[in-house]
Amino acid sequence: MLLEVRDLHVEFRTRDGIARAVNGVTYGVDAGETLAVLGESGSGKSVTAQAVMGILDTPPGRITGGEILFQGRDLLKLKEEERRKVRGAEMAMIFQDALSSLNPVVCVGDQLGEMFVVHRGMGKKDARARAVELMDQVRIPGAKERVKDYPHQFSGGMRQRIMIAMAIALEPALIIADEPTTALDVTVQAQVMDLLAELQREYHMGLILITHDLGVVADVADRIAVMYAGRIVESAPVHDLYKAPAHPYTRGLLDSIPRLDQKGQELYAIKGLPPNLMHIPSGCAFHPRCPMARDVCRTDVPPPYEVSEDRASACHFWRECLDG
């Protein structure tokens, strides 16, 4: 396994109390595999990724438990200096908002070249040449002429390509993409997702795709982990999960997508609101919104039950859910 996150806990200390953002997350990605992490805002999907990358704001954030094994090493035991060598070179991240993630006063060629100067000790000229190659590779038209342009001179889709170029620059083994196409229009989103999938195949990278869009997941992912209130409630191969979800939250999300044959009828809606991380409900965090909840759900936290060899669901009644 390329990356294994084991029982990770992250909390944020705020003036109003402790927000438990991640409460025991376990997942893994293999080389060449795409894992989609699906969840709504506040589910802890981005915080987990930030902990893996080592870019969590500490304080107020704090990793209170767990292991992050990357190529066999526990990243949490490394010194910051060693971590820095891993970051960018061996694992890289693509952010949602390319405009605010790129430096507005440095031309894109220098920003791309910096990767080679810092990590590979290249001279400026060679780094610039590599930057042009990278821009070609992510299919930015006229790369040679545009290498001196600044981020604001590119369109949203092109900026996201530059982010991707920066991520693949040092041919990392793992890429984490945090909502990479959420800010883009559908026609551009399709271009960017295609490019990402192609580069992943070419370099045989592991990809963690963080998203809230069930459509994007179905298009590209191999496996999916659904998060709710800082826990993984269901993890499964993509085909199995869409065919028959084993957790009522996943079922609710799938059912609330408008479908052709249900036009004119009410959409299925999950009742209630996502939980407040300061006061996560007892037992199963989803129980106040769950149509199947019983007494045991209010008291006992459901462990990840094994549904099949490569599938788990954190629901006491996963069998019932699976049967519909």
């Binding site: 369109s155 997702m193 179905a218 869409y242 408008p258 036009k263 009410e266 809606a269």
Partner: protein, 361 residues
């Protein structure tokens, strides 16, 4: 179609680009909306879809008189509201209300929910006498599914979905005939979106509202709309009943847009053929001649650069009565199933590609 409530014709909004401080001169214009026509029938929901920058929100803002059109007319019950001012405009505005996209910035944080929903009554006191207002506000809260006891709370005490309900209650306060909803759920979490969509749907039939529903989520628009218009660079390129647009699109842009939407079904991954358009939308300051979609279109020919295609039923379908016979602004409109219609990646002709690179810079 039912009798029209709103008739929009030739609607144009250009924002001037100027240069110089002392001697301002106009050097160009952002053509946000560039000739839009449609009608909205009584009790009907018209969905407007398109990518960012296509002008759909500007259309919405003109309908509620937040922007004045550069040209064109908006007729509400036969009267052109773009020419009205003062009292007459105020009277019309009462009947056309808007629900905004962002429930976090469209509610005044210093006002209580009761004051926010009751404010329309201050402006139009004839609708509700003073003593009656509090009760009316509480009724509205109840209608949108919030506890009527919440009147004295402030917006920050509510979640995004609840705030959007407050925005909807405010829009309903004056019992309008037309609701313009500009991306009403795109700021909300997936599990909450369905709740708000159901609410809008229910209120529409309950109050017999006519609704213009703007969104970029195509499946959501299909769910809620009777008719759908597709916009590209300031114009409607195709409009028709929902099944006409979704199952028999004849405009290449609509076909590309529909095929690019991710489908929440992994089984479809292998079978689905997608049209992936090259490049981005050209800048609205420098719109291509002729058909504005030609720079990204795989069907583009010389005629497309010379002749602006009109939004009408394409000639080849004019004598038919099938679902392909709806308005589509393309010289080469074709009714093909989107699964087999086009190459996977679309490369526009070389020369137009150059313009496009400059355009997006």
């Amino acid at each position: 179609m039912a009798e029209p409530v709103l008739e929009v014709s030739g609607l144009v909004k250009h924002y001037p680009l100027t240069r110089g401080i002392l001697f301002r001169k106009q050097v160009g214009a952002v053509k946000a909306v560039d000739g839009v026509d449609f009608t909205l029938g009584r009790g009907e929901t018209l969905g407007l879809v398109g990518e960012s920058g296509c002008g759909k929100s500007t259309v919405a803002r003109m309908l509620v008189s937040l922007e004045r059109p550069t040209a064109g007319t908006i007729r509400y019950r036969g009267e052109d509201i773009t020419r009205l001012s003062g009292k007459a405009l105020k009277a019309v505005r009462r009947n056309i209300q808007m629900v905004f996209q962002d429930p976090y910035t469209s509610l005044n944080p210093r006002m209580t929910v009761g004051d926010i929903i009751g404010e329309p009554y201050e402006i139009h006191p004839e609708v509700a006498p003073k003593g009656d207002r509090r009760r009316k506000v509480q009724d509205l809260l109840d209608v949108v599914g919030l506890d009527p006891e919440y009147v004295n709370r402030y917006p920050h005490q509510f979640s995004g979905g609840q705030r959007q309900r407050i925005g909807i209650a405010r829009a309903l306060a004056l019992r309008p005939e037309v609701i313009v909803a500009d991306e009403p759920v795109s700021a909300l979490d997936v599990s909450v979106q369905a709740q708000v969509i159901n609410l809008l749907d229910r209120l529409q039939s309950e109050f017999e509202l006519s609704c213009l529903f703007i969104a970029h989520d195509l499946s959501l628009v299909r769910h809620i709309s009777d008719r759908v218009g597709v916009m590209y660079l300031g114009r409607i390129v195709e409009i028709g009943r929902d099944t006409e647009i979704y199952d028999h699109p004849t405009h290449p842009y609509t076909q590309a847009l529909l095929s690019a939407v991710p489908v929440p079904d992994p089984e479809a991954r292998e079978h689905r053929e997608r049209i992936i358009l090259a490049g981005d939308v050209p800048s609205p300051t420098n719109i291509p001649s002729g058909c504005r979609f030609r720079t990204r279109c795989w069907k583009a020919q010389e005629r497309c650069a010379l002749e602006v295609p009109a939004l009408a039923v394409p000639e080849e379908f004019r004598r038919t009565t099938g679902p392909a016979a709806h308005d589509s602004a393309c010289h080469f409109a074709e009714d093909v199933s989107i699964r087999r219609s086009a190459p996977e990646v679309v490369l526009p002709p070389e020369e137009t590609r150059e313009d496009h690179v400059n355009g997006s810079a």
